[in-house]
Amino acid sequence: VITFLAVLGGLLLLVLGKVVVSILSKEVEGRLDQVSYAILRLARRRLPAELRETMHDQEWVPELNYITTELEERPITRLVLGLRYSTGLLRAARKTAREAGAPTRWARWREAQATAFAVRGMRLKICVFFMNLTVVYFLVVLGLLLGAGATAALLGGPVPALMADIALTMIPGMPVLMIVSGRVFRVTGGMAATDQHRQLKRAQRQR
């Protein structure tokens, strides 16, 4: 009786083990298939909003579905094909959009800028000018300091000292420029203008 029960128990364990392994392998298989879809969703984010439905939803996803459900039975081959398909599109999403006639990001930015300028007019132009002036001033000082260090290390001579002198002379101008920019922002209502500018650009990106 004990031997019979042991054999029966063993058989039950074997069957149970097979069921568990089968469930687990299906679970892993399903998860692996989702990786390609996740990559494709990343590619979707690289597309302009107006092309996401036609390219990703109507074309890429059904094609990936065909690869993962109808084309290939073997899970590893299916995974490789799906990954190759989705990573290729992740890489080329922007190029595909450009070829389809979508404007580049730079063109979109320029368009948003033009709209914002049209809405806020001269006030925003003055603010943007001062913002750009401040940024350029900072970059020049930083460039001179870094350049002085690099030239001193590589060449030596009087040039690094001259560059450092110019940078040090320019440093007091930085807080002055920041204060002036702050005043300009206050006088022209620049904060409100830049906020609206930002909102317009966001709205245009989402369109």
Binding site: E59, E70, E99, A100, G101
Partner: protein, 112 residues
């Protein structure tokens, strides 16, 4: 109609379309037949569609009944067929080796 840039990749895709003008061409099948990755094929398809050489359509199926989403396929347009044949002929003529190189190479390294 957009300006068109012909490359060997575009030519290989067009050749597949010209094999059977009425044949529906699906993205993944084209990838396999042309030996192109998706990142190269889809920009080409977008360019061809924008130029009006091919037209993309979505399958008219009952997705619930078929248990799969409708796939998008492409067909060559009449204008595309004419232009593609002409451009392939031009490209073929341009890539043909010069007649001077048609001599047979000898074992010693020269030409017969």
């Amino acid at each position: 109609m957009a300006e068109f840039r012909m490359t060997t990749t575009v030519a290989s895709v067009l050749r597949e379309f010209l094999e059977d003008i009425d044949q529906r061409q699906y993205g993944f099948d084209l990838m396999r037949r042309c030996g192109l990755p998706s990142g190269s094929l889809y920009p080409v398809l977008a360019r061809l569609e924008r130029a009006g050489w091919i037209v993309g359509k979505v399958e008219e199926i009952d997705a619930a009944h078929e248990a799969r989403p409708a796939r998008k396929y492409y067909l060559l347009t009449g204008h595309g067929a004419v232009e593609a044949s002409r451009e392939l002929a031009v490209l073929s003529a341009r890539l043909r080796p010069p007649t001077g190189l048609l001599r047979r190479p000898t074992e010693q390294g020269g030409f017969a």
